[in-house]
């Protein structure tokens, strides 16, 4: 007993050091994939407020570009509106089987683009109706999925996170693949699970598949930049150029699937 006390007194500091390092490593192991805790992430109000204050200032430097993007989107939406008006009323309008989506505008107040595990923080949270699992898109394309929701802020796992997966399809024929980020650079990602019998050409547009609750079908994701087939492989290696510019992302829209509860209640019973 005395020896034990002596030992603790002699090596007390070292034991405290070991204890603290073990705690830190456990935290890394538990939280390295996703920030699971609202308090210990940038969804924390105190932390996010600092970022919001910074972006209040830095956003002014991008006003011109933001305006251009909005003008382009307005023009695009107007052209779609006109196209809707000219369609005959009977058969051509397709029913969206996914149900209606509701859009919340949000501002990106913090964005990583240099890591393997990148995160975005937006200034909308549970108070505005956000929930985990909602999709997020920008004017130009899909952005990611809501991960951690605080009262007024939320953390998003963008497509450029090594654990992010997104079900996508080819615009031209609806063939489905899975989007994955290889950690190389923020302008490109890979499309997996496309078998060799599919005809793939450079320049093919990839959109969201609508097979998940996060996105409706048809949100643009990327454009095929390079498609190679390894010797003897049965799946292509496809490299996409992402349509969202994560380096300049400032404003996004969160997509709330109005039928997600119903869909979840149906699929929950299947497990």
């Amino acid at each position: 007993m005395q020896d034990l006390l002596k030992f603790i007194l002699r090596y007390g500091n070292f034991l405290v050091f070991l204890l603290l390092e073990v705690v830190a490593l456990l935290l890394v192991l538990t939280y390295n994939d996703y920030p699971r805790s609202t308090a210990f992430s940038t969804a924390n109000s105190l932390v996010a407020t600092q970022y919001r204050m910074r972006s209040n200032v830095t956003d002014y430097f991008a006003l011109k570009q933001t305006n251009n993007l909005l003008a382009e989107e307005n023009a695009f939406l107007r052209s779609q509106l006109d196209a809707c008006g000219t369609l005959p009323d009977d058969s051509v309008r397709r029913q969206n089987t996914q149900g209606a989506f509701c859009y919340f505008p949000a501002r990106v107040i913090q964005a990583d683009t240099y890591d393997k595990h990148n995160y975005l923080t937006i200034d909308r949270g549970a108070a505005h109706g956000l929930r985990q699992g909602m999709g997020v898109r920008s004017v130009t394309g899909a952005v990611g999925v809501v991960s951690t929701v605080g009262e007024h802020y939320a953390v998003i796992i963008p497509l450029i996170h090594t654990r992010s997966r997104l079900s996508c399809r080819f615009l031209k024929d609806g063939y489905v693949g899975t989007l994955r980020w290889d950690g190389q650079d923020v302008f490109h990602a890979m499309l997996d699970d496309v078998a060799v019998h599919e005809q793939v050409a450079e320049g093919d547009t990839i959109i969201t598949s609508g097979l998940t609750n996060a996105f409706p079908e048809g949100v643009p994701v990327g454009v095929v930049e390079k498609c190679t087939l390894a010797q003897g492989a049965s799946y292509y290696t496809i490299r996409l150029r992402l349509l969202t510019d994560f380096k300049r992302l400032r404003y996004v829209q969160v997509l709330s699937n109005l039928h997600s509860e119903e869909i979840e209640s149906l699929t929950d019973g299947l497990d």
Binding site: N32, F40, T113
Partner: protein
């Protein structure tokens, strides 16, 4: 009074780190974690355990801002643990070192060796833990090297201005 100065410096340096230095990108190569300066310059009069708890606190705050719970904490605790031992070995009259650790108090050569070694260790832990695995080992080491050099230069700049 000395501790008030330490706390004020921590707040200012952390603000700079989060709002400015964390935004430096350079292809992800240059991520100077200048906030380690506060740990390096803290007086060595507190018990080692308390020192390490300060490291935990500063590391956790940084982790929350970076969505990287545990990584900065591990690096800061290690820096605080090694600091005492390194200074005890390097400085002859360690017992009389009551003020903050700076060029004026420990000498230029000792301070350069002390800060360079600890900055390198601190950055290595952060980049290796963030990569989590040996797959990107070369890249992590390159990140460590470039970022450490930039941090070291910024720390030296601060110390020289501070001693004037």
């Amino acid at each position: 009074m000395d501790w008030i100065k330490q706390i004020v410096r921590m707040l200012l340096v952390m603000a700079l780190q989060v709002l400015l230095f964390n935004q430096l990108q350079l292809y992800g190569l240059c991520r100077p974690y200048v906030y380690v300066l506060c740990l390096l310059m803290m007086p060595v009069t507190l018990p080692l355990t308390v020192d390490m708890l300060v490291g935990v606190a500063l590391g956790l705050v940084m982790d929350i801002f970076c969505n990287s719970l545990g990584i900065h904490m591990a690096a800061c605790v290690l820096v605080m643990f090694l600091r005492h031992r390194m200074l005890r070995n390097a400085v002859a009259d360690f017992e009389r070192l009551t003020g903050e650790v700076a060029i004026a108090s420990v000498g230029l050569e000792v301070f350069i060796r002390y800060s360079a070694a600890l900055i390198l260790i601190h950055h290595a832990v952060i980049f290796l833990l963030s990569a989590w695995g040996w797959a990107h080992l070369g890249w992590s080491l390159l990140q460590t090297l470039v970022s450490s050099v930039v941090t070291f230069l910024l720390v030296m700049l601060y110390c020289i201005v501070h001693d004037r």
